[in-house]
């Protein structure tokens, strides 16, 4: 800076830096401010419309259920009725008289177990029928029939087999989530471009290397599509399964509330079920976008 000033000469140089500072300040500040403003506007554009619609829906609900003798409680009643459950989700009075946190975590544990099993077995079976024409011919028709069986229809059978509610519920999650994982994995494996197979052949990759270095990364976008559908279905199935098997779990909580005519508690539970389902879906989507960054960008 000093050198520059000296080169130009003292007389014209002196006002120059001053002018530069004055000019630089607004120029520098403007992009930062406008960027912040733009980000804020962007956020507002995403938050305001759903918030408005939600408020409108709540208002309609409030008005339509406000009259005496309405069969469903208005939102204000729901909030008043369930305030204790909302503020203290961690109480535990033994048996099934627990806070919502415990019910939800019991359900989530079942889903986690059943879903993890479905993911592992589903990717393995999907790889098999994607790779081998004979496995495809043998297994695909069976899968196509079995996958149309509604999740709950498996419950009596699994109860008969396991003689216990817990493993039966996990099995129902497993059998619900596995089909989309198998089918999408198989499609992903079958769609591995011949080019990548040629590269693997020239490099003489062995089966294990081919699986980890070519197959899985190449099929990852498909596999994650299956995993994302699978997590949604598991969460759908767990509530219904728990209604039937009883014990601690959000599904049985809802059924229990219905039996005791606590309609407000059902509504609260539904909001939680919906929010958690949404979060689970987003978690899998996030994992997918991180893992498949390279492939998806192509």
């Amino acid at each position: 800076m000093n050198q520059m000033v000296r080169k130009v000469g003292p007389a014209p140089a002196r006002p120059q830096p001053r002018a530069a500072v004055i000019a630089a300040l607004p120029i520098k500040a403007t992009p930062r401010a406008s960027r912040a403003l733009a980000a804020l506007a962007d956020l507002a554009a995403r938050v305001i419309p759903p918030a408005l619609v939600l408020a409108l829906l709540l208002l309609v609900w409030e008005l339509s259920c406000a009259r005496k003798g309405a069969s469903l409680p208005p939102p204000s009643r729901v909030l008043a009725d369930t305030w204790e459950l909302i503020v203290d989700p961690f109480f535990d009075r033994g048996g099934i008289d627990k806070g919502l946190f415990w019910h939800l975590s019991a359900s989530l544990q079942r889903v986690a177990l059943g879903y993890a099993l479905a993911a592992a077995v589903g990717v393995a079976l999907g790889t098999l029928i994607g790779q081998s024409v004979w496995a495809l011919r043998g297994l695909d028709p069976i899968f196509q029939v079995l996958r149309t069986v509604p999740p709950l229809a498996w419950l009596p059978l699994s109860l008969a087999a396991f003689r216990d509610g817990q493993p039966s519920a996990i099995f129902v999650i497993f059998i619900t989530a596995i089909w989309p994982i198998i089918i999408n994995t198989a499609v992903g494996i079958r769609n591995i471009p011949q080019d990548y197979r040629n590269v693997a052949a020239v490099l003489r990759l062995n089966a294990g290397e081919f699986f980890t270095k070519i197959m899985i990364p190449s099929a990852a976008p498909y596999i994650f599509t299956g995993l994302r559908i699978g997590i949604g279905l598991s969460w759908l199935a767990i509530v219904a399964a728990e209604m039937l098997i009883g014990g601690v779990g959000i599904g049985f909580f809802i059924w229990d509330a219905w039996n005791s005519s606590h309609i407000s508690e059902i509504i609260l539970a539904l909001t939680y079920v919906g929010s958690i389902g949404f979060i689970l879906d987003r978690l899998v989507a996030l994992t997918a976008s991180i893992v498949t960054r390279g492939t998806a960008a192509n």
Binding site: Y196, N198, V199, A201, L203, P217, G294, A297, N298
Partner: protein, 266 residues
């Protein structure tokens, strides 16, 4: 006996009851350090021929001999630069080359040596600066350079080029051709290249093998391009050997073995 010999190869594809004869009695010999091009109209089966040499396709009859030993399965001794680069999109430029280096030199080079060898080959094709980029972040010509680096890094006995410049614009193509010429000059690689570009074939090759049109394509003519190296693109334009070679290729491709489509158009 030559270094690489494609020996009386026939190839017939069978789909159900329908049989399509693609290649008939093709014999090509390549000496060590030679640059040989195979030229023909598209669809004449020249890519099939390259795949047979690479071991990716099995010939119906005949075989491929490399240093007097039959080769019938793919391997890094016949590295291929694919027409559409075939880089793995989830790996960086470096990792694409490193995958090949790790596989080929697992037993003979240590970790550090493999790292250095990967970088050396990327520098050879002037792609060292982009080593951390992913394939979708670099241009088509750059991808092809990385594909070339991957193939060179395997230290193949024969380098197989499957229309490596086909998908590039003219300027990029010229740059890459010059790079390939320089690299082949300094490393002395044996190269078998598939092309449909007359200028490219004459500029790069010591010998050009001309294929007739399919089905049942055969070797039509073989042209020795007896020009010294290094060859300079600009000076060649007036070189009598260059002009004559070019003339012969054009005559073969467009006068005697026009594609059926071209004939139909007249």
């Amino acid at each position: 006996m030559s270094y690489l010999k494609i020996d009386h190869v026939d190839k017939t594809f069978t789909r159900g009851a329908r049989q399509t004869e693609v290649l008939r009695d093709v014999t090509v010999e390549v000496e060590k350090g030679q640059y040989v091009s195979i030229i023909g109209h598209s669809g004449c089966g020249k890519s099939t021929l390259l795949n047979i040499v690479a071991g990716l396709t099995q010939p119906t009859r005949g075989g491929v001999l490399l240093e007097n030993r039959e080769v019938n399965a793919p391997g890094p001794d016949r590295a291929v630069v694919f027409q559409n680069h075939s880089l793995l999109p989830w790996l960086t430029v470096y990792d694409n080359v490193r995958l090949a280096v790790d596989k080929v030199f697992a037993a003979t080079k240590g970790r550090r040596e493999r790292h250095a060898w990967t970088l050396e080959n990327l520098d050879l094709v002037q792609m060292g600066h982009a080593k951390d980029k992913r394939p979708h972040e670099i241009s088509g010509g750059m991808k092809q350079r990385v594909g070339l680096a991957r193939a060179l890094a395997m230290q193949p006995k024969v380098l197989l080029l499957d229309e490596p410049f086909g998908a590039l614009d003219a300027l990029t193509r010229a740059h890459l051709q010059d790079s390939v010429m320089a690299i082949q000059q300094s490393l002395g690689n044996t190269v078998l290249m598939i092309t449909h570009d007359v200028d490219e074939a004459v500029l790069l090759s010591d010998r050009v093998v001309m294929m007739t049109n399919g089905p049942g394509a055969r070797i039509g003519e073989v042209l020795e391009v007896a020009m010294g190296r290094p060859r300079k693109r600009l000076e060649l334009a007036a070189d009598p050997i260059y002009i004559k070679s070019r003339q012969r290729l054009l005559e073969f491709l467009y006068a005697r073995h026009r594609t059926p489509q071209l004939q139909a158009a007249e």
